[in-house]
Subunit: 440 residues, 2 copies
C-alpha cells in the first residue's frame, strides 16, 4: 500500500471518506466485541474443567503431609502447592509461599506492608516522605493503580523493545536510582511483558540486580505473570528469563527482589492460587506480618491445583493446550495488521512469543481517537493511555490489543474495525497538518 505520508490533502480526504464509509458500515452492524482485557476465552477455561471436581470426597482433601485441607492452618501454603508455584516462579519451595487467589492482591499487600512497616529495620515507607517509583512504559495499568493508591509518584522510563538490551532502559534506570533515595522500587513484568511482549535480556536482569541504589530498601516488584505462557510448545520458540533471585544473590543484593505469580491464566482467573517468592529474609518478614492478617490461604484451592497441574512438566503440557488456542489468534492479529497497515507509515506493533498482548503504536496523537472510533463501532479496546502511569501517554500513540477473549471469527471482525479506526485517526491527523492541495 502507498504510504499515507506521501499523499496530498485531496488524496488524504479521499482515503478518509472511503474509511469513514467502512466505519459507518461497521457501526450499522451493531457489533459488540471486546479486546480490552487479558481474559482467557471459554475454550481455554474449559481446559481446566477437571479442576472443578478433582476433590470430590473428604478423603481427597488430605495434603501429602496429612494436613486436612478443609480445616484451618498452614500459613505458608501446603508443601505440594509451594513446590508447584516454585516451579512457576523459578524458585525454591522453601522460599515460595502460597497466598490467596490473586497475585495483584499479593503485590498490593506487599507494598502495603512496606508502607506500614518498612523492611530490614528501615523506617516504614510512609514515614520516609514523598516516594517515587519507576514504571517501564508501556506497562500494566493495574500496577500503576497500586502505586497511585499509596500516593507514590510514578516516573515512566522507556522499555527497550528492540535490539539486544530488551527491558527497561538501564542507563536511565541506573542514573535515577543512584541519585534519588526517594525512588523505592520498580514495576517489572519481565517475561512476555504486558503489553510489549518482550522478555528482559539477561544483561538487563543482571544490571537491575547489581545497580547501586540510593535507597537501601529499594525493591524490584517482579511480576512474572506470564512465566509459562508461551505461544508455542517448541522450546526454540520460547523466551527464557534469567532468574532475578540468582542475579540478586550474585550481585550481593539478595533482598532486592519480590517475585509474584499466579495460576490465573493457567486455570481460572480470580479462582486460582497466587504466590510470592523471595529471599529467606523477605519471606520470613512477610510471614511475620501475614500471621496477623490470616490463619492461612484456601488450601482446597491449593490442593486442587497441585493435583490437577502436578508439577512443572504438567504445567508445560497444560500451557501447550492453551497455546494451541491462543497462537491462531495472535497469528490473526499479525495477519490483519500487516494486511491492513503495512506500508501506510502510520503504525508498528509487537509480535510476541508469549503472554496475552500485542502492543500497538499508531501515529502520535491518535490513540484516544482510535479507541473512541472503535467504541462507536462496537469494539471495546483497553483505554488509550492505560499503559502509562496516571493514564497519560504523552505521545497518545500506544494501544494494547488483547486478542485472547473473543472467538476467532469475532476477533477477525474486531481487527478489521481496529484497522479502519487506526487509518481514520491517522488520516484525520495528517489532514489537519497537511498543506492545502493544488486543486483546492
Amino acid at each position: 500500500m502507498e504510504s499515507y505520508r506521501t499523499l496530498d490533502a485531496a488524496q488524504l480526504q479521499q482515503a478518509l471518506l472511503r474509511e469513514r464509509e467502512r466505519h459507518d458500515s461497521f457501526c450499522a452492524q451493531g457489533l459488540a466485541l471486546n479486546m480490552a482485557r487479558g481474559k482467557p476465552s471459554d475454550e481455554q477455561l474449559d481446559l481446566s474443567s477437571p479442576l472443578l471436581s478433582i476433590l470430590a470426597a473428604p478423603a481427597d482433601c488430605q495434603a501429602a503431609d496429612g494436613t486436612d485441607c478443609r480445616n484451618y492452618g498452614v500459613l505458608a501454603g501446603i508443601p505440594e502447592a509451594r513446590e508447584l508455584m516454585a516451579s512457576v516462579l523459578d524458585d525454591d519451595p522453601a522460599t515460595t509461599i502460597v497466598l490467596g487467589s490473586s497475585s495483584l492482591t499479593a503485590m498490593y499487600d506487599a507494598l502495603a506492608r512496606l508502607m506500614a512497616f518498612g523492611t530490614e529495620g528501615h523506617e516504614p515507607w510512609e514515614r520516609q516522605g514523598p516516594l517515587r517509583w519507576l514504571c517501564p512504559v508501556p506497562g500494566y495499568d493495574r500496577h500503576f493503580s497500586i502505586t497511585e493508591a499509596f500516593g507514590i509518584e510514578m516516573l515512566p522510563v522507556p522499555l527497550v523493545t528492540e535490539g539486544p538490551s530488551l527491558g527497561p532502559a538501564m542507563d536511565e534506570v541506573e542514573r535515577l536510582v543512584a541519585e534519588d533515595p526517594s525512588i523505592k522500587g520498580i514495576w517489572c513484568v519481565p517475561k512476555y511483558a504486558n503489553p510489549s511482549g518482550i522478555t528482559y535480556a539477561d544483561d538487563v536482569v543482571r544490571r537491575l540486580a547489581a545497580m547501586e541504589c540510593a535507597a537501601p530498601d529499594f525493591r524490584i516488584f517482579w511480576d512474572n505473570a506470564y512465566s509459562v505462557h508461551h505461544l508455542s510448545d517448541d522450546a526454540t520458540r520460547q523466551d527464557a528469563l534469567l532468574d532475578i533471585g540468582l542475579a540478586c544473590r550474585e550481585a550481593g543484593h539478595p533482598n532486592r527482589y519480590l517475585k509474584f505469580g499466579s495460576t490465573s491464566k493457567v486455570t481460572f482467573p480470580g479462582a486460582g492460587i497466587a504466590a510470592l517468592a523471595a529471599s529467606p529474609d523477605n519471606v520470613a518478614e512477610a510471614l511475620g506480618h501475614l500471621r496477623a492478617q490470616t490463619i492461612g490461604g484456601d488450601k482446597l484451592a491449593q490442593l486442587r491445583h497441585s493435583r490437577f497441574l502436578v508439577d512443572g512438566a504438567g504445567i508445560a503440557a497444560h500451557m501447550a493446550r492453551h497455546a494451541s488456542i491462543l497462537a491462531p489468534k495472535f497469528a490473526l492479529v499479525q495477519a490483519k495488521l500487516h494486511d491492513g497497515l503495512d506500508g501506510l507509515g502510520i503504525a508498528r506493533w509487537s509480535d510476541p512469543r508469549g503472554g496475552y498482548f500485542v502492543s500497538f503504536d499508531g501515529m502520535e496523537g491518535t490513540a484516544r481517537r482510535t479507541v473512541a472510533l472503535a467504541r462507536e463501532a462496537g469494539v471495546v479496546l483497553t483505554g488509550a493511555g492505560a499503559t502509562w502511569p496516571y493514564g497519560e501517554d504523552p505521545a497518545d500513540s500506544n494501544l494494547r490489543i488483547a486478542p485472547s477473549l473473543p472467538p476467532i471469527e469475532e476477533l477477525g471482525q474486531a481487527l478489521d474495525v481496529l484497522v479502519c479506526c487506526v487509518r481514520i485517526a491517522a488520516l484525520e491527523k495528517l489532514l489537519a497538518a497537511a498543506p492545502p492541495s493544488a486543486s483546492s
Copy 2:
C-alpha cells in the same frame, strides 16, 4: 464436694498429693489431645462434602446473572453470594460485599485501609499520632494481634457476662471514648462471644451506636463470627442480636460500624467466603480502595457456597446439623466441670447457647500453671493470657476451652485432665498462702 477454701494446710497437702497421683497417671498415658483452637471436627467438615463437587462442569459455573464465575471480574461479589452473606450478617445485599476466604483478613485489611487512607475525609490514622483501641476482655487473641501489628495501644475493658447488660461495660466505654480522641475503635464479637459466649444486650448495642465519641472517625469492628452458630435449633434456646447497623442509623451515626463474617465455621475454615457489611458510604469507600487491590474474589467459591447453602433457611438447616454434633460436646464440658469442680470454690465458667468456646475462670494466678500442667499430661489448651491484649491477663485466671475439635471420648479425657490440673494449680496456690496447720 468440700470447698478447698475451708481446708487447712495438711488437708490441702493431702488433696494435692492425690491430684498429683492422678496427674502422673495421665502423663503416663501418652495422651495427645487438643482443646486449643475453635476448629470444627472432621464430622462437622463432612457435613459440607457436597460443596466439594457442586460445580462439576463448565455449565454449572454461571452465576444467576449470567457471569461466568471461572473468569475475572465482579469486585463486590456475585449477587447470590451477597444475598447469602447478607443473611448471615443481618444486612442488605446492596451493602454487603463478598471478599476473600477469611474474615480475619477482611478485618486486617479494613484496619490497614483506615491506617493508610483514613475515612470520610479525615486524616489517615497513621498520621493522627499514637492511637488506642478498646478491647473487651476476655476476647479474641487474633483481634488483638491485628491492632498490635499496627502499633495501636489496646485498652482492656471488662465484658459484663452476667445480668441484663451483657456486653462491654458501657459506663466505662462511654467515659473512655468521650474523653479520648485517640481511641479509634473497639473489637466486638457481639454474639456467642469468643470466649465468653455471651450475646450483647439490645441496650448495649444501642449505647455503642449512640455514645458520643471524641474521635469523629471512631469505628466499631463488629465481628459477627458466630451469628448463625446456635447449639440448638429450638429458637427459644437461641440468642438474638440487635442489628448494629439499624442502631447506628437510628442514633445518627450511620458510618460507625463495620460488620464482618464468614462461612469458615459453616463449611470449610479457610476455604469459605468472607464478607463485609457496612453503610453505603463505607462500602463505597472500601470498594474504591479494593479496586486497586484486586480484580475480584474467588467467584467459584462464592457460587459453590450459594448453591450449597442457598439462603438463610438453608444455613439454619445446615447449622442445626452442626449443633447436633457440637451440643453433646458442650454438654460434656458442663457435666465434667460440674462433677469435678462444683463446691470447691476455685472456678466458674460460662454455659453458652452458641459459638465455639467455654470461658473458664480459675483462681487468680493459676491459669498459666494450669495450662503448663495440662501440656505435661498431653492436653493442649489455648495459652493462658491469650484472651487479653498482649497476652497479659492481669489476674492470670482466664482460660478458653475449645471443645469442638476432639472426638467426644477424647474430649472427656481432656476435660478429666483439665479438672485435675485446675485442682492442682488451686491447691498449690492455696498451700502457698495457707498458715502452717496445727500438726506441723
